[in-house]
Each structure stands twice: as C-alpha cells, then as structure tokens.
C-alpha cells in the first residue's frame, strides 16, 4: 500500500432505498470501502443489482448516503455542506451511460461546454471560448461544430462531448458509469482509447463502472467485483482476472463470452455449477474460512493488495489460503 494519502478514500459506504409499498428497505450498497490513487483507474464490475451504479453516484454525492464517508483530496464530502460539495465538484466529474439523454437537447454544444467554466469561474469570461475550443480538440471533435445541437451528432461524438464537459474544469477524478455500453464496438474502442490517453496526459483518476469485464480488463489498474451491495473481491486487475479468489468472480469470468469459436463451444458444452450466492450472505458468527470477524470487515487477504470477502461464499466450494494482512 502507498504511504501517501490516496486521492479518494471511501469507507464503509452504505445506501438504502425505501421499500416499495412500505416493505423492507432495499440495501443497495452495504459497507463498501476502497481507495483510489491519482492517475489510476479502479474498475467496479458487477451485474444488475450489485450496487455498482449506486456506489458511483453516492461517491459523487448525487445520492443520499445512509452511513459511511467519502474523502476527496483530504476533504470529507459526507460532512460538507451542499455549497462546499458544489465547490468540490470541480474536482470530481461524471460521465454517464446514455449519451442521448445526458446532454441538454436545446443547448448548443458551445453553451454546454461553457457552463462548467461559468459555474466554477475557473477562467475569466473572455477566455471561455478559447478553452471551449481547446476542449473540443482534446476529445477529437471539430471546433467548427460548436454551434450545433446534440441531436446533430452521433452517439460516439456525443459521448466525446460529455467527456469534454467533464474535463472542462480540470477535475482530478471522473466517475465513468458504463460510458461505452450504448455504443457500437468500434466506437467503444475509440472512446476507451480516448479515456486512456486523457488519463495519461492529464493525470486523471477514473472510477470505471461497467458490466463488460473485457473492457474493464483493458482500462483498469485495479478492479473491485461487487455482488449484493458488497465488494466480494478486489485487487490488481491481472491478479483478479488470472487468479480469481471468490467463486462469484470465477463464475463471472466463466460466463463472459469470448470471441474464440473453439473455446466458446467448449465452455458452452460444459454444464456449470450454478451456486446460489445470495443464500450465503454471511455476516455474523464464523465465516466460511472459520474466522469470527466480530463486526469487523468480512475480508481476507490473498496476496499483496488482493483480497476477497467471505460473504456469498457457498461453504462447499474451495477456499484459497488467506495470507496475513499485508498492510500490517
């Protein structure tokens, strides 16, 4: 672990939604903790209902939090006032999934890109047009199209505009929520390449939320796998993808279709185990590793920076040997 303070530090984040018709509340996120260093990408993967999108929005303070803390650049966002949070927004930006709805349909691109600059007063008014042009060039769009409206652009181009808007005020950290899911495969590759090149040039950090594991493999330095509102495995991308510890991670990796006909045929021919992860939510008493966590985090380290949760672990499945906490 690094000794310097991470750019973003999330501790024990929990989000609940009121139940339908007065039923039990929905615990979308239940105690998520992670760090993000400058210039790094943390991939957050999971299926629907895992809580990954809610986590992203909660970190950005766009979603009310039940408990937990979010520290950005040393400042605790969860205890800051609304005005302070708004001020901090120049450091944390959001790229949403749907490029068709995340841009104001009646605003010209020039105005859309100028707005963050006006709101945060980061450049003098006279310098705004120059900065807007710069942003267009940064994401590979023609500044001559600045007076056009969103509907005149393709999905991929619109996503570039969304990215340009996010970069307007030089943020340190961007949450990308399924940024390429609604795009064609070639456009996906272009946007992913753009995000990576921007990270290198500007030293950005990304919380990259996606369900497509192959893309996450490509962009993330570290990855966290979510299930049922918890992180069930987290570590360096290579470690998690090549030596997955948690059975759910293994199940996910086995299910991802790969564009290799022979391999894919083999995989589909095998009849997989389909363990019911949800039945083993765990929490109190001894865990599957035989350890009693006493209300502490249900976490076991497998290697440097690579750990798994003992939750959602069917007891009859193999368990790797945990190692002592490398953070010491």
């Amino acid at each position: 672990m690094t000794t310097s303070t991470p750019l973003l530090s999330v501790r024990d984040l929990a989000v609940s939604f009121p139940g339908r018709n007065g039923g039990a509340p929905v615990r979308a996120v239940q105690g998520v903790s992670f760090d993000l260093d400058a210039g790094q990408t943390l991939g957050l993967v999971g299926e629907s209902g895992s809580g990954k999108t809610t986590t992203g929005r909660a970190v950005l303070q766009l979603q009310a939090i039940e408990r937990g803390s979010v520290h950005l650049l040393g400042r605790n966002l969860t205890t800051s006032s609304a005005a302070q949070v708004r001020g901090m927004r120049r450091h944390m930006q959001f790229v949403l999934q749907n490029p068709y709805s995340s841009l104001h349909p009646r605003m010209a691109i020039a105005s859309i890109l100028a707005e963050p600059l006006q709101v945060h007063r980061s450049v003098p008014r006279s310098a705004i047009p120059a900065r807007v042009t710069e942003l267009m060039e940064l994401v590979g769009l023609d500044p001559g199209t600045l007076q056009r409206y969103p509907h005149e652009f393709s999905g991929g181009q619109r996503q570039r505009i969304v990215i340009a808007r996010a970069l307007a005020v030089h943020p340190d950290f961007v949450v990308c929520d399924e940024p390429v899911s609604s795009l064609d495969v070639r456009t996906q590759a272009q946007i992913v390449a753009l995000l990576q090149s921007l990270q290198e040039r500007l030293g950005l950090s990304y919380l990259f939320i996606a369900h497509d594991l192959a893309i996450v493999r490509h962009v993330a330095h570290r990855v966290a796998v979510m299930y049922g509102g918890h992180i069930v495995e987290m570590g360096d991308t290579a470690a998690v993808f090549e030596r997955p510890g948690h059975p759910y991670t293994r199940c996910l990796l086995d299910s991802v279709p790969v564009p290799d006909p022979q391999l894919q045929r083999q995989r589909l021919a095998q009849v997989p185990l389909e363990p019911d992860f949800r039945a083993h939510a765990g929490g109190s008493g001894r865990c599957v590793f035989g350890h009693d966590h006493h209300d502490g985090p249900a976490w076991h380290w497998l290697g440097p920076g690579h750990g798994v949760s003992c939750r959602y672990w069917p007891p009859d499945l193999a368990r790797p040997e945990p190692v002592p906490d490398p953070t010491g």
Partner: protein, 276 residues
C-alpha cells in the same frame, strides 16, 4: 422511423399562421385605434340607431355613437386587460409551478393546496365576487383575472417539471456543479415550454370571454369607456331596431376568442403536446 406525425405538424403550421394573422390583425387595428376609428367613440349624434351607411359602416347606437369606432376602441381596453392579466397569470403560474414541481416536498404541498383553494371556485363566480368587492376598475379586473387563472397555469407547468427534473441531463448538470436555481431555469424550464404555450393560448381565449362577460354584467370598466361586453348589454334593448349594435360586438368577441383557439390548436399540433 417514419414520421407519422407529419400531417399533424403541417396542419399545425397552417393553423398557427392563421391564428397569428388574425391576432396581428386585431392587435394592429386596435393599437392604431384612435387614428383608424372614423369617429370619436364617445361622440353622440342625433342620428341614433341608424343602419349601416357610407358614413357609419356598422350604424349607430341608441345615442348616435358610431358602432365601428366603439368596437375598435373598445377592443383596445378588452385586449389590454386580457393580455396583461394573462401575462401576470403566466408569470405567477410559471414561478409557482416551477418552484412547486422542482423543489417538491413540503413546498409543493403548500403551494398546490393554496392554489387549489382558488382552483376550487368556478372562475366566473370568483371573478364576480372579487370585482364586486374591490370595484370595477381596470387594474382590479386585471388582478382578479390574473389570480383566477394562475393556478391553472401553475398546474400545467408543474406536471412536466416533475418529469423533466429526473432526466439525465439534469443530473449531469448537477454533477458538473451547476446550482439548483440555474438548473431549474436553464435545464428544466426550457423543456416545458410547449405545454405552457398551448395552455396560455387557451387561457387567453377564456379570458376574452370572462372580461366581456364581466363587462356585460356591468362589472367591467365603467362608462364612458366603450367595451364589447358593455356594448352587448346596451344593444340588447334595441336588438330588433338596430341589430348591428348587438351583432357587431358579438362578432368581435367571437373573432377574438377564435383567434386564440386557432392558435392553441395549431400549437398543440405543431408541438405534439398531447404526445408527451
């Protein structure tokens, strides 16, 4: 995807053109009133209850005043009250509707319940009651009508606001750091303009009716100011002798109301409001 709405939109465009043409005509004629009207509307003459002639295109009333001139000048007052009252109602309605819809919660409840009280009264009875209590001056009329129609416009604003405030671009703007007020005004309001335009046209049509009806009952601007409702009321007694004293104002009222109805329908087609 084929645009199956095209026939509606084309019809909408022609209706709007027609409505605007009618509106322009009315406004120009009444605005230029004093210069266009052939006679002084208050000028009496011994030639009373005359039929149409080269001098008096629409004849004269019971005390010899030129009907056409009175229609033109009367139109000024009627239209003035109408436009100003609806403008005030629109301003109030937009502010309250946006506030209520965007902020939600307790504020929404309070504002809507307060407006509901006004809404519960039949428009006309409320207007009569207020004007009778405060006196039939032009400012009072404007105020009454504005108050009476504000809840309706507020409601028409609030509905779409509740929906639009959940759209992605609003959350995107919030994540950028745009303040709530600016979001409400720049990111939400411009997208609810269509239903507001349609409803405003309908309210204008109704207001013409309300203003003229109030004047008909004697609660309008006091004489000697001519106004359509008053002319209708006076002309009633002499309907058989000089039908134009009734037909004249009646046609004017119908024309004005129709103008706004045509505009409302045209806007509704063109903007596809019902589709939202």
């Amino acid at each position: 995807m084929t645009d199956t709405r095209k026939p509606g939109r084309a019809a909408g465009r022609s209706l709007i053109a027609l409505g605007l043409f009618m509106l322009l005509g009315m406004v120009v004629v009444t605005a230029l009133g004093p210069w266009v009207a052939p006679f002084n509307p208050s000028a009496t003459s011994p030639d009373s209850l005359a039929g149409p002639s080269a001098q008096h295109w629409l004849g004269t009333d019971s005390i010899g005043r030129d009907v056409l001139s009175r229609l033109i000048i009367g139109g000024r007052t009627t239209l003035l009250i109408t436009f100003v009252a609806v403008a005030v109602a629109l301003a109030g309605g937009v502010v309250l509707g946006l506030l209520s819809g965007y902020v939600g919660g307790l504020v929404d409840q309070l504002v809507m319940r307060a407006l509901d009280v006004i809404f519960a009264f039949p428009v006309f009875l409320l207007a009569i009651a207020v004007v009778a209590a405060l006196g039939p001056t032009v400012p009072n009329l404007i105020l009454t009508i504005a108050v009476v129609y504000t809840p309706r416009l507020a409601r028409v604003v609030r509905g779409p606001v509740l929906s639009v405030k959940r759209w992605d671009h609003v959350e995107a703007a919030r994540s950028v750091g745009v303040g709530e007020f600016r979001i409400a005004v720049r990111h939400v309001l411009p997208l609810v303009v269509s239903p507001i335009l349609v409803e405003t046209s309908l309210v204008l049509a109704q207001t013409i009716f309300t203003v003229t009806a109030l004047s008909f009952l004697g609660l309008g601007p006091p004489p000697p100011d001519p106004n359509w409702g008053g002319m209708l009321s006076e002309g009633r007694q002499f309907m058989e002798l000089a039908p134009l004293t009734v037909i004249g104002p009646a046609c004017a009222i119908v024309f004005a109301t129709l103008t706004f109805i045509v505009l409302a329908n045209g806007l509704r087609e063109r903007l596809d409001v019902t589709g939202k």
